[in-house]
């Protein structure tokens, strides 16, 4: 579903990704861990077609990036630590707007369905800028699921959430994964990643320095591995 070979990304003279090889099979939930500045967000932005690779090969569902980016976007749902929602529109208006952008035939019906599913149906006519951070993140997930994408990309989705909102997001992520979607999530939260993911990759100094399938993940083992890989 996702195939990345020798991916290089530089900003000016500064290399951020230095030849990343990465794969995710259909239905797989990959957590991408790494310290600040390791290149997690850069890699996710390239997968999301928001940034151009400097060198290397990136394919999503068989489509090559950046040449076939428009076809890839229809298959993608992206959630970042920013909600990507308009504060001066209501929750319902935001979803109806994105439904039009994705060309959904029954945009209004689908927006209602999604609002119901993320538990915001009662607040549908409230402005997004009046929402708490947790509610904005729930609506952001609803926005990303609106067109029923095959691939979901989550960029540090827990940033700024309290315990209750984080627990709610855990539940949402599990349901997203159960629906058979391929999920890539960047995070600093090792225990949570170990709990949710079917595979953990550690990105350090611009390369995938370690990869661990779920069967081999233990909370202490993961922390040891992470320390060893990122401090070497």
């Amino acid at each position: 579903m996702i195939e990345v070979r020798r991916l290089v990304k530089t900003f000016g003279l500064k290399p951020v990704l230095r030849g990343v090889d990465f794969r995710a099979q259909p239905g797989e939930f990959v957590a991408l861990l790494g310290p600040n500045g390791a290149g997690k967000t850069t890699m996710l932005r390239i997968l999301a077609t928001l940034s151009r690779p400097t060198m290397g090969e990136v394919r999503l569902a068989g489509y090559a990036l950046p040449a076939q980016a428009a076809s890839v976007r229809r298959l993608l749902g992206v959630v970042s630590h920013q909600p990507l929602l308009y504060g001066d529109l209501t929750a319902e208006e935001n979803l109806r707007f994105y439904a039009r952008m994705y060309g959904l035939i029954d945009g209004t019906g689908r927006a209602e369905e999604v609002l119901e599913s993320v538990g915001l149906a009662a607040r549908r006519r409230d402005l997004v800028r009046q929402f708490s951070r947790g509610m904005q993140q729930r609506l952001a997930i609803g926005r990303a699921l609106l067109h029923d994408p095959q691939i979901m990309l989550f960029d540090e989705p827990y940033t700024g959430l309290d315990q209750d909102a984080s627990a709610m997001l855990d539940e949402v992520l599990r349901r997203v994964a159960v629906a058979g979607r391929t999920v890539v999530m960047t995070s600093h939260d090792l225990p949570r990643a170990a709990d949710l993911a079917t595979r953990i990759d550690v990105l350090s100094r611009g390369v995938i320095a370690a990869s661990l399938p779920q069967a081999e993940i233990t909370p202490t083992g993961l922390i040891d591995l992470y320390r060893r890989v990122t401090h070497d």
């Binding site: 229809r74 920013q82 952008m101 689908r110």
Partner: protein, 238 residues
Amino acid sequence: MTSGAAPAAVVTRRGSGYLRAVGAVLWKDLAAELRSRELLSAMLVFALLVILVFNFALELDLATRQTVTSGVLWVTFAFAGTLGLNRSMAVERDRGCLDGLLLAPVDRSALYFGKALGNLAFMLIIEAIILPVYSILYNVNLFLPGLLGVVLLGSVGYAAVGTLLSSMAVQARTRDVLLPILLFPVVLPVLIPAVKATNAVLLGLEAAELWPWLNLLIAYDVIFTAVAFMLFDFVVEE
């Protein structure tokens, strides 16, 4: 909460939906502005202040009024327009909305045209308020079909190039300062014929003296729109 469950059917329309995307972006900008009125009120207050200051500063005999009107009007529209352009793109920067737009499976030039039409609509609303106020303050009749045509053509060119450059400037930390520095040298080929054509209409000059400026204005509108159409994708991508 049952989020994440695949819906029974999410049916999408066939085709690229270019016009639908343009319309959606335009609707979104108008609906958000209708609610907040942040952009229009800033533009309007600034524009009213400028024409009021000029009203007190200039000698208002008939000959002066005739000659300064085109300059005062376009200075007002250009600077008020910059405020609008800055705010219009700042809204996209807040909460990462620009990324939300760029993730949509539509040709990115559709996003440009949606934003440009929104910016043009805001400029035209301000101009529709400023022209009668100016007429009253300066006792000059501005409700001439030719003048309205020139204002429309000038605004189209300004919004075309302004939307492209504000998309570029919004990615910089110094965007508020950067936009006027980038915009005014580039938009001069629109502003000069607009001022000259406005002057020609107000002074009642012959068509032969007006048409070269109008032709220039139309040519620059077409060139700037075409260039923005081709470059927008590169401007917004990292």
